[in-house]
């Protein structure tokens, strides 16, 4: 019996569990393998929907489904949060007292947006990174906002969905124009980076659009604190700005279970091989998505692409096959830039983002992804994604004959059986 335990039921954990259940279907039914998914919540949110909730008034209910609706029947879902991961004992303990022993482990515990890390931030700022309800509070505040200064600030890096602060500024501009009060509202964007978007080529697109829409930018602004009484936000560098409404991306850190288990870095992220997605120094233990310390965007697309690599590698290891795959660092983050246009921030470990032209087609592609997200979690759209994303994985370096060959992940597994 080969026991796979997946910790975390977000995008990456859910998709990995489903892929493994699909690949190991016969073995699971034959009692030779099991896939257990441990998650805290029964509700599974589509997190990019938070922008629509905050700035377009969408209902949070529109972007939530029950986790059990999203899983293949071969996956055993355990709604009981993990509290301890013990690599030595190869065991995951849960809050409810379970002890789940594993042969293979996938850690997909995500990142936690935590406003409490900056003095005054939780009291003085709203945000769209801590859930649908908090995003809805932004929409409610906008309904009574008549004039003044709105600040969008990045209060910590790295954070989920790198384009989302820029999108928030663009969407605010759209909102106030539609209300006919844009001339009474000053929008200011505060970023720790040297430019409006960290990647230079993308900033070449964003910067002139911010200027055209009169979104004022202050770079090198590392948030130190917020004074809710004075309505001021301060930087470590010594700058301060007054706000009437503050929307800030909170600092993020790794999940409590990672910190409490002592298996993360200083910020609670798991040191992971950026190719094979194996946790450094561990055998048959993988990490994906926002939970890792890999310097790549914290986004659902990244978790999705890494899940394919991890599911393949686990099955290969079970079959004692040397044919492991490596993720190539592909990111693909859509960014709405207002006026029903969007761009896609695409890159790999070796290819930085390139020049982009905003278009309505990209905007509608982004919107359509919100509709297919749920189906994407069960793996039924992988052939389409393979065409869309192209090369995202390669044979692992130590065995690759060519790094330039596209690998079809599910190819050639044919009649192999679990060892």
């Amino acid at each position: 019996m080969q026991r796979v335990v997946v910790v975390g039921s977000g995008d990456g954990g859910t998709f990995t569990a489903n892929l493994l259940a699909s690949e190991l279907r016969d073995e699971i039914h034959g009692g030779l393998a099991s896939v257990q998914l441990i998650g805290e919540h029964l509700h599974h949110p589509f997190q990019p929907g938070n922008l629509d909730i905050a700035f377009k008034g969408a209902s949070p209910d529109k972007y939530v489904k029950q986790e059990t609706e999203l899983l293949r029947k071969e996956v055993e879902f355990i709604q009981d949060p993990a509290v301890k991961i013990d690599f030595g004992a190869r065991c995951v303990s849960t809050k409810g007292g379970r002890a789940l022993v594993y042969d293979f482990l996938v850690i997909a515990t995500g990142a936690v947006a935590d406003p409490s890390k900056i003095p005054g931030l939780a009291q003085g700022a709203m945000n769209f990174h801590t859930g649908g309800r908090d995003s809805q509070r932004i929409w409610e505040s906008l309904q009574t906002f008549k004039e003044g200064t709105v600040i969008v600030a990045i209060a910590g890096t790295p954070h989920k969905c790198p384009p989302s602060p820029n999108e928030a500024a663009f969407m605010l501009d759209d909102f106030f124009r539609k209300r006919g009060i844009r001339d009474k509202v000053k929008i200011r964007f505060l970023t720790p980076y040297p430019r409006p978007y960290p990647a230079e080529k993308i900033s070449h697109v964003v910067e002139p659009m911010f200027q055209e829409k009169d979104i004022q930018v202050s770079t090198f602004f590392n948030v130190d604190s917020v004074d809710p009484a004075e309505r001021k936000i301060y930087s470590l560098e010594g700058e301060a700005f007054y706000y009437d409404l503050l929307i800030a991306v909170p600092p993020h850190h790794g999940a409590d279970v990672i910190v409490d288990s002592g298996i993360g870095d200083q910020e609670g992220y798991i040191p992971t091989d950026k190719g094979t997605m194996k946790v450094q120094g561990q055998e048959r233990v993988y990490a994906i998505g926002d939970a890792t310390s890999i310097p790549v965007s914290k986004s659902g697309v990244v978790a999705h692409l890494q899940s394919v690599v991890v599911a393949h590698n686990i099955v290969a290891e079970m079959q004692q096959s040397p044919d492991l795959l490596e993720y190539n660092g592909r990111i693909n983050c859509p960014m709405e830039v207002g006026s029903r246009k969007a761009i896609f921030v695409s890159a790999t470990y070796t290819s930085p983002p390139t020049d982009q032209t905003p278009s309505m087609i990209k905007y509608f592609m982004k919107r359509s992804f919100a509709m297919i997200y749920w189906r994407a979690l069960n793996g039924s759209l992988e052939r389409i994604f393979d065409v869309f994303f192209g090369q995202t994985r390669f044979p692992a370096t130590n065995q690759a004959e060519s790094q330039n060959q596209l690998v079809e992940v599910k190819a050639a597994q044919g009649d192999k059986k679990i060892a």
């Binding site: 890096t157 790295p158 720790p192 980076y193 040297p194 960290p198 990647a199 230079e200 770079t219 090198f220 590392n222 130190d224 301060y234 930087s235 470590l236 560098e237 010594g238 310097p295 930085p352």
Partner: protein, 82 residues
């Protein structure tokens, strides 16, 4: 009692923009006035980014050294809100 000034070495080699400048900011956040931060980077953009940051923030750029295969940027923390 006087605090002891620290010398921190931050290795961002292999990381591309915004990796090095982000690593520098993490060190800045936990630093005190008088501390020296040495940033090692392979991304050539780190030179311009750090130079622009010290100019805006009022901190001191002590040195930029082209080592073999990487850049060593030394910054002294002389301005930070406390």
């Amino acid at each position: 009692m006087a605090t002891v000034e620290q010398h921190k070495v931050i290795d961002s080699r292999g990381s591309f923009c915004p990796g090095p400048i982000t690593d520098l900011f993490k060190a800045y956040r936990s630093s005190q006035l008088g501390d020296v931060i040495e940033l090692l980077a392979t991304d050539p953009a780190a030179k311009a980014d750090v130079t622009a940051w010290v100019q805006k923030s009022g901190n001191e750029l002590v040195d930029i050294i082209d080592e073999q295969g990487y850049i060593r940027i030394v910054v002294k923390i002389t301005k930070k809100r406390s």
